[in-house]
Amino acid sequence: VLISTNSILTLGLLWGAFGSALLSKQFAIRKAPPLELLKGCVGGTLMGIGAAMAGGCNVGGFYTAVSALSASGIAMMIGLLIGAYLGLRYLYWELEHLPSGSTGSGSISKEGKQVDWLKIEPYIGAVVFLAAFVCAGIYNREAYTEVGGLLLCGIAFGFIIQRTRFCFVRGFREPFMTGESQVPRAIAISIIVSALGFATLKWSGLRGENVYVPQAFWFGGLVGGVIFGIGMVVAGGCGSGSVWRAGEGHIKLILAVIFFALSTSLFKAWIRSSDSLNSLMGYRIFMPDFLTYKWSLILIIAIMLAYYIITAWNEETEKFVVEL
């Protein structure tokens, strides 16, 4: 586990977010009411199932997949939108019918000694980052230099996403919740840019055409997207968003990350063990094989521009915003 790419990156994310939260005095063990903790577990489990079906979380199954001209990414985008809507509907229902479940009974730890604690947090943060370099050094000595580098990349990334409070959930939830369109627009534009980049790499043969093309079109992507979408809204964080919030000390999101990891590996193993289940997920569709590079790019750019324009228009008119 300590040398596999994905878990090292995730560990790095967690590590970086933890250190970054300490440095900015934002770390605290944040206990939440029982219903919230349950939502963390359920949301995490749903995200794990969805990610196993769609061939990746919101990043691998949607973001990178669309950029890499995979049809499954577009299926997952539709699924994520439906899932985010359904998840939000549940949250609204909960506010009406179980308002006590999210009453602020939770507390921040160490109320009494908090001042002293906050003063030393930045120092602990510095130690945490130093420890990271030591760790990378050990990897280097043990001839796993790349792993150490990866760990540092993960940590840097964790630092950045904690500070910017980067949240993918917003890209799909806000159009229905507040109408805010900044994140949806940012996602749309960045996908256009990275799709152009990916197309260049693949067209020129620098990268294999099937790289980052999950075998999940259309059932796995769409249904996985719906399940993942519900999960991320209920948990209050996507794959990476849950990880940096966990690093900030939210018990709810720590649970979400644990349940995500467990359910995704279990579900993946289950899907792989059965041929019929595996083929149910769908095909590995690299769009240029059917549409040519030109039309695949035009299609992706058109979808993303449409998402950009619709969410921006929605911010003004609130046409899609669901009222409480």
Binding site: R30, S102, T178
Partner: protein
């Protein structure tokens, strides 16, 4: 707490994380009459950015932004 201002309503969002505080504020704002003051207690660092954003859209003023 804000000095010298008595809130009309208080919303305790301590221990809750995104998006619950935001949703609770959204719900509370609907009940609020013009001129009334809503106090929100929270522990999620994200709320500091989110709640003023929501209020701005809804045309409310945010007077305090502390922890």
């Amino acid at each position: 707490m804000v000095e010298n201002i008595t809130p009309d309503e208080t919303l305790d969002c301590r221990g809750l994380s995104c998006p619950m505080p935001l949703l609770k504020v959204k719900k509370a704002l609907k009940k609020l009459k013009p001129g009334q003051i809503l106090e929100v207690l929270g522990t999620d660092p994200g709320s500091k950015n989110d709640i003023p954003g929501l209020c701005q859209k809804a045309g409310r003023r945010v007077s305090r932004n502390g922890r």
